[in-house]
């Protein structure tokens, strides 16, 4: 795996930039090899998942983990089975996950963008208090909040409904921090003053002028809240009883645990393929939007 990936990049080499110093530092083979070890560490488990998603349940037990099975190439039948097993509940979980991600991460990003902008661009009564409260609360581990939130929500009759997962996902302190630092430097205060002189309302200014400038920061926040929402396991685990409302994470673990229960069918091939499908979706979003979140994160780091 290392050789195939290193070769093409070696061939390309560095573009000759003459502007800089006279003696351009050359690439280091040793450094590249050492970093390749880290890349290998990152990739091997993913390769294991990909290879084993091509095996049948029997093939998993009879073949070497990091190589293909002699038996049938089962990737496509595994994918088909994943989506149809147990009356297609996986599709339902996928839909739930999308709902939680769109509503949760979308809502969290929206609130963080508004609040981050407000904190960065207005000087107002109570700003220091907002800062102190948010920073203080961030130190409280979210999972420590989950149990009391569950008890509260069960009194309010919200448990076992999608709201129980969506509402707590709406707050992302990290997203707020990111948007705050980003808005502080991406939006010229002069522009806002000029818009006010022209009589534009604050919201009109925000949506017409500021949002486009905030785009890289918004995409970054969206991706991090998406990961957080998709990663969420503890919250839906305690909030939801009905498998029909499970997100993928809780559902996949239920399939995995099924083998250990009396009379439960072992469907490890489906757990593996389902995991692969889950990862591919998220990775796809990350790679597609790479350019935006990297520039957004870089800008977020300037402030530190």
């Amino acid at each position: 795996m290392t050789t195939t990936t290193v070769e093409p990049t070696v061939a390309k080499g560095r573009p000759p930039v003459t502007l800089s110093s006279k003696k351009r530092r050359k690439g280091s083979i040793t450094l590249t090899v050492l970093t390749s070890l880290m890349a290998l560490y990152a990739l091997v488990p993913l390769a294991w998942l990909l290879i084993n998603s091509t095996k049948t349940q029997d093939g998993l037990f009879s073949s070497f983990g990091l190589w293909f099975d002699d038996g049938p190439f089962a990737l496509f039948s595994n994918i088909a089975d994943t989506f149809t097993y147990d009356d297609g509940i996986f599709t339902r979980w996928l839909g739930n996950t999308l709902l939680y991600v769109v509503a949760g991460a979308g809502g969290a990003t929206f609130l963080a963008v508004l609040a981050g902008y407000g904190l960065a661009k207005f000087d107002f009564v109570g700003k220091k208090a907002v800062f102190a409260i948010v920073i203080g609360a961030v130190a409280v581990p979210p999972t420590a909040l989950a149990v009391p939130t569950f008890l509260m929500f069960s009194k309010m009759g919200l448990t076992n409904t999608p709201w129980a997962v969506i509402i707590p996902s709406l707050i992302s302190p990290f997203g707020l921090y990111l948007m705050w630092t980003f808005a502080a430097q991406a939006i010229p205060t002069e522009m806002l003053e000029a818009a006010r002189v022209d009589g534009a309302s604050e919201f009109r200014t925000f949506f017409r002028l500021s949002v486009p400038l905030l785009a890289p920061g918004i995409v970054t926040t969206l991706l991090f809240t998406m990961v957080a929402t998709m990663n969420n396991y503890f919250l839906p685990l305690i909030m939801l009883k009905d498998p029909d409302w499970y997100p993928l994470t809780v559902g996949l673990n239920a399939w995995n645990a099924q083998a250990a229960t009396a009379g439960g069918e072992a469907v490890f091939n489906l757990v593996i393929t389902g995991s692969l499908v889950t990862i591919v979706l998220l990775l796809g979003a990350f790679l597609l939007l790479q350019r935006y979140w990297q520039s957004g994160l870089a800008a977020g780091a300037v402030k530190e």
Binding site: S21, G27, L31, T35, M38, A39, Y41, L43, P45, L49, F64, G65, L114, A115, G118, F122, F124, V125, G136, A137, A139, V140, P141, P142, T143, A144, L145, V147, P148, T149, F150, L151, M152, L170, I171, L176, T189, E190, E193, A194, V197, F206, M230, N231, Y233, F234, I238, L248, L252, N253, F268, I272, S275, I279, L282, L283, Q290, A298, A301, E304
Partner: protein, 306 residues
């Protein structure tokens, strides 16, 4: 907040009134966040503290017991063994993970790496894998049934120890967490390194400073803020360890107890034991410990800066 030439304030109004009008405008933006924040952060914290002061008795129902639950928690050996376990995890896993992440970030930043963007994306990839999926996947790899460890032992005649046995389970979980978060921390460090003015390196090189000297004297001090932030996030993450042990428990029910981590303990108390009040006290104690440790790290991190 410099006043630009063109856009002078529209009217000469007394500062106080203007500030109040501004406040109203600002709260239109900050308000929605704070309302939801109050519902999902402040209310549960308050409710938790309230619950922790009561106890449900067979006779007499719900009674105010003051700090009894806290007293119980402080004497609870299961709770402290859980705290000790995440403490050990924190002391061993976090430095290894952050050190590796820093090495990769420095390698990326050195400009001497072939295929830089390939490495940046590849090493970041695991972060995009949900923790549950990562734990399931590594669980399979560790497993004795069709896991890689068993495979290697069978086909190469090795005798690798079972990663799921009680003495190794914490290290195995540490490996999963390290795998998940190296890329994320690397990206934080790398982003911070990118902002350091390159001219500093050039003048240091002219003064005869070697690569390691530049790293020690310029790069590391420059990204101290990022190092402190990453350390605090990692501390919070370690103290609330739950997903990985909860999922590996299917494979290793004997190695992972119901009080394996403080979080897992609070979960078991609530959902298996129905001890809501005591569980709330455990959660509060844990939150306080986390805050103290995070605060001390922050204080030390910023003090050395000055």
């Amino acid at each position: 907040m410099a006043v630009p030439q063109l856009a002078a304030p529209p009217a000469v109004s007394p500062g106080g009134v203007r500030r109040k009008r501004r406040s109203y405008r600002a709260w239109q933006f900050v308000g929605p966040f704070m309302i939801v924040f109050a519902l999902v952060f402040l209310a549960p914290i308050a409710y938790s503290i309230y619950l922790s002061l009561y106890r449900n008795r067979l006779i007499g129902g719900n009674a105010f017991v003051g700090l009894d639950n806290y007293r119980q928690a402080l004497e609870d050996s299961q709770f402290w063994s859980a705290v000790g376990r995440v403490g050990l995890f924190l002391v061993v896993q976090v430095p290894i993970m952050l050190f590796l992440a820093l090495l990769v970030a420095l390698a990326l930043d050195s400009g001497r790496l072939y295929g830089k963007s390939f490495f940046r994306v590849t090493i970041f990839l695991p972060y995009a894998v949900p923790a549950v999926v990562a734990a399931l996947m590594w669980g399979f790899i560790y497993g004795s049934q069709f896991g890689l460890v068993g495979n290697l032992n069978d086909s190469l005649g090795w005798s690798l120890p079972d990663p799921l046995k009680p003495s190794l389970i914490l290290a195995s979980i540490g490996n999963i967490v390290t795998w998940e978060f190296i890329g994320y921390n690397m990206l934080i460090f790398y982003s911070a390194l990118q902002v350091v003015p390159k001219s500093l390196y050039e003048s240091a090189a002219i003064d005869g400073a070697g690569q390691f000297r530049i790293i020690r004297s310029i790069k590391l001090p420059a990204i101290r803020g990022a190092l402190v932030i990453a350390t605090i996030f990692s501390i919070i993450g370690s103290f609330q360890l739950f997903n990985e042990p909860a999922i590996l428990r299917n494979l290793a029910p004997n190695a992972i107890t119901t009080y394996f981590t403080p979080n897992f303990y609070a979960y078991s108390l609530t959902f298996s034991g129905q001890q809501f009040n005591y569980s709330a006290a455990v959660a509060v104690v844990m939150a306080v410990i986390t805050m103290i440790v995070a605060y001390v790290v922050q204080l030390r991190g910023t003090k050395e800066l000055g």
